[in-house]
């Protein structure tokens, strides 16, 4: 039985490390902003033979463009990207002419001009649109689930966005308007994935509440694990194909999607769920009571389901701090490390009976012979 929630400390550390790397790279290197965001002219030149940056630079200098950004394609030295400030039509024509005369014959060329005003609009619109989309999703998830679920789901989105942007910062891949599309796709996939898991948690909360919060979340994840793996595999298979077989122009986009989708899948299980769990745990510990009463019917419903070792931790923790029956009347088997520690050395069997004495509900539990046998 997989005990993902128990190990959430490690997931937090991993996520923290990834986020740190991303942020550090952003602060140190920043992003390689394409002309879609800064304005300027971009020449995409395909020569009939490999060329060098110095050739290109000496062809550009007489036009006053010697300082321009020149990069050669990593895999094909006959493909060059030249990026200049905004220049007029005459100069652009002169650049192409200079290339043909001084560097080599062009098999094809592309010229992209973006003025700073359009670039600025793109940035503003992108942020505005994403911001409002977040708010919209927050409202819907709160309506269908609860506020905590909405916040943790969106937090997972931020996590994915920062890491993907960090990837662009580390690799210095040029940031174009397709980059915006990539980020949006990743966020869409990630939220979709997260909600599927939350939906199962919601269902388990309804029918297995008494098993304890830990059990609810852990089981939810375990139950959806196959689906989680399969969907991630099919999606990555599809995108990997684009990365490997698609052309040069989609390579960066596909790489961003691969990393982003993997990140989005990871965050649904290892970020959003544990965060929600911890937050919910804190709330329930504070309240010290369970939302739903423990009933015999509920226990019968729980039978026949796959039950895992419960986190008496949750129960014990509640008991230790509030003196109440850790609202987790559920299965109070020894859960292992964390549980034992939280119970402050309580014995493996979170003595349900003993704790039960603290509350009226204990009586009911006392009657459950089957429980005690555990």
């Amino acid at each position: 039985m997989i005990r993902l929630m128990e190990q959430r400390k490690y997931w937090y550390i991993l996520s923290g490390a990834l986020l740190l790397v991303a942020v550090v790279s952003l602060c140190v290197q920043g992003l390689n902003w394409g002309i879609d965001f800064t304005g300027g002219v971009m020449f995409d030149l395909h020569f009939d033979k490999p060329v060098t940056t110095s050739q290109l630079r000496s062809a550009l200098s007489p036009l006053g463009l010697g300082e321009s950004d020149i990069t050669l394609d990593q895999k094909d030295a006959s493909v060059a990207m030249v990026r200049t400030r905004v220049i007029d039509e005459e100069t652009r024509v002169k650049v192409i002419a200079a290339m043909t005369e001084k560097v080599g014959k062009l098999t094809s060329e592309e010229v992209h001009l973006v003025s700073p005003s359009i670039a600025r609009d793109l940035i503003n619109l992108a942020f505005l649109a994403v911001g409002i989309a977040f708010v919209g999703m927050l409202l819907y998830i709160t309506y269908r689930f609860e506020f905590k679920a909405a916040v943790t789901a969106i937090a997972a989105l931020f996590h994915d966005a920062i890491i993907t942007v960090g990837l662009f910062s580390i690799t210095q891949m040029p940031v174009t308007s397709t980059f915006v599309a990539a980020i949006l796709t990743i966020l869409g996939y990630s939220i979709n994935d997260t909600i599927v898991i939350f939906d199962r948690v919601r269902e388990n909360l309804k029918f297995r509440k008494k098993e304890g919060l830990y059990e609810v979340v852990n089981t939810a994840i375990t139950q959806t694990l196959t689906r989680w793996t399969n969907t991630t595999v099919t999606t990555l298979l599809a995108i990997a194909s684009v990365y490997v077989f698609g052309g040069r122009t989609t390579r960066d986009f596909a790489l961003a999607l691969i990393v982003g989708v993997a990140c989005g899948a990871y965050s649904s299980v290892f970020v959003a769920s544990p965060l929600w769990f911890d937050w919910k745990l804190r709330e329930e510990r504070r309240r010290g009571i369970v939302a739903q009463p423990l009933t015999a019917a509920g226990a019968r419903a729980a039978r026949g389901r796959v039950l895992g070792p419960a986190a008496a931790g949750a129960a014990a923790g509640g008991g230790a701090t509030t003196g109440a029956v850790g609202a987790r009347a559920g299965v109070a088997r020894a859960a292992g490390g964390p549980a034992a520690q939280r119970a402050g050395g309580a014995k493996g069997k979170a003595g349900k009976g003993g704790k039960g004495g603290g509350k009226g509900k204990g009586g009911k539990k006392g009657g459950k012979g089957s429980r005690k046998r555990r």
Binding site: E110, V111, G136, T178, V244
Partner: protein
């Protein structure tokens, strides 16, 4: 009941196969394969993409009327370029997007579009004799010496004015301005000229461009080129070829995985996937949406995600079977519970897409459209179609036990 269900199932399969064929092969009632009707984006077919922005002038702010006028002037100019299927749209309050495929001299064409084209004839003293508004028609012709000239037919009331001006200015130059640039300053040789001429063009083509400009009329507001992309057709073709391979392999990989993991239900899921792709392409063709390179990658991604609904359903059915339900009960419960999951997760994503569509522009909006279409279509094919087919198979007796699921 058994035979009817089997027949219905087979009928659906045949229907889908027929529709699929219509996309890739010629048919008597549709003509060429439907795939040919798919509108390709500029990055795939090559061409020019220009965005013109109207600028406020002192005392002449950009108004809705001005934009309407500017739009029709631009249309006129684009038409004269003789490009097949140009795209001319207004974007926002003050931008016009023009997309032209296959132009020989794109930079020249763009210049043509953006020029204000304000014509003025002035005398030495600076008095305006005639302007573009007095022009009836401009024409580019070759004169007796085979030189390219632009003849200007003036409106009746302007003819007299011009004739008088030439008479009054014999021996003196008359200045011809186009957009405040001095184009020519010929000396008037004789008076009473009713049809002025602008001479000295190197190529007939240049003269023709000017004629088009003058005939289209002067733009009511100056247009600035804020975005200009010249995209190569050869690169586009290369991208198309590579994309075809990527798409086929990507879909094949997903299909193989589903078959391997889910066997017979997996086959149904792959079939539903085929229908999904057909519907998606059909929608794109119907909406005349342009397919761009990121769009292709997006579609491949959506294929990987479209199976998600099927995976959710199948896994749920497996669970219900494991909990001891009968095949029919497991199916029903599986679909029902899975629906709830699918709807919640998809609606959340759709909300995001809707917002992006409303607030976004250009590429962001296009992305929102494909994402929304993909989600809605996959909800239909994965839920409605798969359920229908599986039910038919069960009723036809071809799926008898839950072992078809749990065995995996």
């Amino acid at each position: 009941m058994q035979e009817r269900s089997l027949a219905a199932f087979l009928a659906i399969v045949v229907l889908v196969a027929a529709v699929a064929y219509c996309f890739v092969g010629p048919t008597p009632f549709l003509g060429a394969p439907l795939m040919g009707r798919l509108n390709l984006g500029l990055d795939l077919k090559g061409g020019t993409h220009v965005v013109l922005e109207a600028q406020d002038e002192a005392g002449a702010p950009v108004t809705k009327d001005a934009m309407k006028q500017a739009l029709s002037i631009i249309r006129f100019r684009v038409d004269s370029l003789g490009v097949a299927e140009p795209i001319i749209q207004q974007s926002g309050d003050r931008r016009i997007i023009v997309e032209l495929a296959g132009i020989e001299d794109p930079e020249e064409a763009v210049k043509l579009l953006g020029r204000t084209a304000m014509l003025q004839f002035k005398d030495e003293a600076g008095n305006v004799i005639i302007t573009g508004r007095d022009l009836q028609r401009a024409e580019a012709v070759l004169d007796r010496t085979n030189q390219a000239v632009v003849t200007l037919k003036l409106k009746p009331d302007a003819k007299k004015r011009f004739a008088d001006a030439t008479t009054a200015n014999v021996g003196k130059p008359i200045m011809i301005y186009l957009d405040q640039d001095l184009v020519q300053a010929p000396t008037v040789e004789e008076g009473n000229i009713e049809e002025p001429m602008i001479t000295g063009y190197e190529k007939l083509e240049s003269a023709q461009n000017v004629a088009v400009l003058l005939n289209s009329g002067a733009l009511p507001v100056p247009l600035k080129i804020v975005e200009n992309r010249i995209i190569s057709a050869t690169l586009g073709q290369d991208s198309i070829n590579k994309s075809k391979v990527a798409v086929i392999i990507g879909i094949a990989a997903v299909a193989l995985f589903m078959l391997a993991f889910y066997r017979v239900p997996g086959l149904i899921a792959v079939f539903a996937l085929l229908v999904y792709i057909l519907i998606l392409i059909g929608l794109l063709i119907g909406l005349k949406a342009a397919l761009t390179l990121p769009g292709i990658a997006g579609i491949v991604l959506s294929v990987g995600m479209a199976v998600d609904a099927n995976v959710i359903i199948f896994e749920r059915i497996k669970e219900e079977l494991r909990w001891g339900k009968t095949l029919r009960a497991a199916f029903d419960a599986g679909f029902r519970n899975a629906m709830r999951t699918i709807i919640d997760s998809n609606v959340t994503t759709l909300i995001g897409a809707a917002v992006l569509f409303y607030f976004g522009a250009g590429p962001i909006r296009g992305f929102a459209v494909t994402l929304s279409l993909g989600i809605l279509t996959s909800m239909f094919t994965a839920v409605v179609l798969t359920r229908l087919l599986l039910n038919l198979l069960v009723r036809a007796g071809l799926i008898r036990s839950g072992r078809i699921f749990v065995k995996v």
